[in-house]
């Protein structure tokens, strides 16, 4: 007949090892099922070779405007991590994402003919401590 303390110990073991095992599986499997995470914080090597992605609205009047995705909203700012998804997305999904980015950037879609995603090579100036754009390549162009 197990005592009350033995039963409590069994619960403690089950909870503790289950949580630790789940964390270990996420870490080893590089899984991101939040809040289970692989805890990859700054884990990649960084070098001087840096690129960034930028969405550019091409207006019907021939002008261009880089989209500044709601810079004051921290929930929206990180959506720029989804720019690479545009390359793989189906046409409808791609259009939906671009319209959403135009919306949160305060740009009227009716004035825009297309939105392109540019990859920009950057270089760091050690004197000015600033990054400067060296050249850009269009990765994908989405007609509206």
């Amino acid at each position: 007949m197990p005592s009350q303390q033995d039963r409590e110990a069994r619960v403690g073991r089950a909870v503790t090892w289950s949580i630790l095992a789940a964390m270990a599986v996420a870490a080893v499997g590089q899984l991101e099922v939040w809040p289970l995470t692989a805890f990859r914080l700054f884990s990649e090597v960084r070098t001087a070779d840096q690129t960034r992605l930028e969405l550019v609205a091409e207006r019907l009047d021939g002008t261009e405007e880089p989209l500044l995705v709601a810079e004051t909203n921290p929930v929206l700012v990180t959506t720029d991590r989804q720019y690479p998804d545009l390359v793989r997305a189906e046409e409808d999904e791609r259009r939906g994402m671009v319209l959403a980015w135009l919306d949160v950037s305060g740009v009227d879609p009716a004035t825009v003919g297309s939105v392109r995603l540019d990859r920009i090579d950057r270089a760091y100036d050690e004197d000015t401590h600033l990054w400067t754009d060296r050249g850009r390549t269009t990765v994908v162009d989405v007609d509206l």
């Binding site: 303390q5 692989a38 700054f42 090597v45 001087a48 959506t79 720029d80 989804q82 050690e126 401590h129």
Partner: protein, 299 residues
């Protein structure tokens, strides 16, 4: 090896005083309440459904929450936190608090980037979903059910920090310390505020560190060493307070140099490690009748 595991297991499920589990639960509730109270959660409602991304516990919900619903979750969470602090139905209130906090942070972080700011708090607090605190009359009672939850929380902390360090070695190797990685982390972080990040307070100091390779290597080496040795620091009672100080310094320097707010991490570490740094018979803020956790008879 079997002996080592047996010793770890015996330490994990050794009896502990009721006040300790209550203290850690209360401190974690205070940390979560602070996180809930200091953010405008209605910003989540401004994100179009097309830009929601990432796999979370809340991915089953695909809608856009109304601002009022987000405020309700925040208020319910804060109400639950008050109940935990007052130790009124603390277990049920803690579950409510955890659900509100985890839901809001899961929604907040579903924007393409894996957000780690709150993940440690969520995981450590998850232990207390299965832990019951003592009744008011049992504050100084010593039982297994009060012993394992704070130790499980320490184990979660230790594993999280260890994995963070191990991933750096797995993905970058020693170059993470001895190469220029920290230099470029600083330089990229310093420019992040220009594209929406928070402007770092210690920009000038960060430039100095980035310009002096040995400083950047020392910073990277210290951080990696701290993360990899976290299980040792947390296993020994006397090194738990120094660990709190060390992680506060590490996360504080990240905020100072590149503006990233990881304050929930040292606060969570403190919530668990400070009470667990005390002698087993010494309460953090209420001195009960003398108890001997180590030698207490099992009941």
């Amino acid at each position: 090896m079997t002996g080592l595991w047996r010793r770890i297991d015996q330490r994990l499920v050794a009896p502990g005083p009721g006040f300790r589990v209550a203290e850690v639960q209360i401190l974690l509730a205070a940390v979560i309440a602070l996180r809930l109270a200091t953010r405008d959660w209605t910003l989540v409602a401004e994100r179009p459904a097309a830009l929601r991304d990432g796999l979370t516990v809340l991915s089953w919900y695909t809608g856009i929450p109304a601002p009022w619903a987000l405020v309700v979750a925040q208020v319910v969470g804060l109400g639950c936190a008050l109940l935990v602090l007052a130790q009124v139905r603390p277990h049920l209130a803690f579950v409510g608090l955890w659900v509100a906090y985890t839901s809001l942070t899961a929604l907040w972080g579903s924007s393409g980037k894996v957000m780690h700011n709150d993940v440690l708090t969520v995981l450590v607090a998850a232990v207390f979903l299965f832990a019951s605190g003592p009744p008011r009359s049992g504050w100084s009672e010593v039982r297994v059910r009060y012993g394992w939850p704070p130790r499980a929380a320490l184990a979660v902390l230790a594993l999280a920090y260890f994995v963070s360090g191990a991933q750096k070695l797995v993905h970058s190797g020693p170059e993470w310390v001895f190469g220029d990685t920290m230099v470029w982390v600083l330089r990229l972080g310093l420019s992040a505020h220009l594209s929406g990040g928070v402007e770092p307070v210690g920009q000038d100091l960060a430039h100095v560190v980035a310009e002096h390779g040995w400083m950047a290597v020392s910073l990277a080496g210290g951080a990696l060493l701290l993360e990899l040795t976290a299980p040792v620091w947390l296993a020994i009672r006397r090194t738990r307070i120094p660990f709190v100080a060390a992680v506060t310094l590490m996360h504080g320097s990240i905020w100072l140099f590149i503006g990233l707010d990881y304050s929930a991490w040292p606060l969570t570490v403190a919530a668990v490690a400070v009470p667990m740094a005390l002698a087993p018979d010494r309460a953090l803020w209420r001195r009960p009748a003398a108890v001997s956790a180590a030698g207490a008879p099992r009941r």
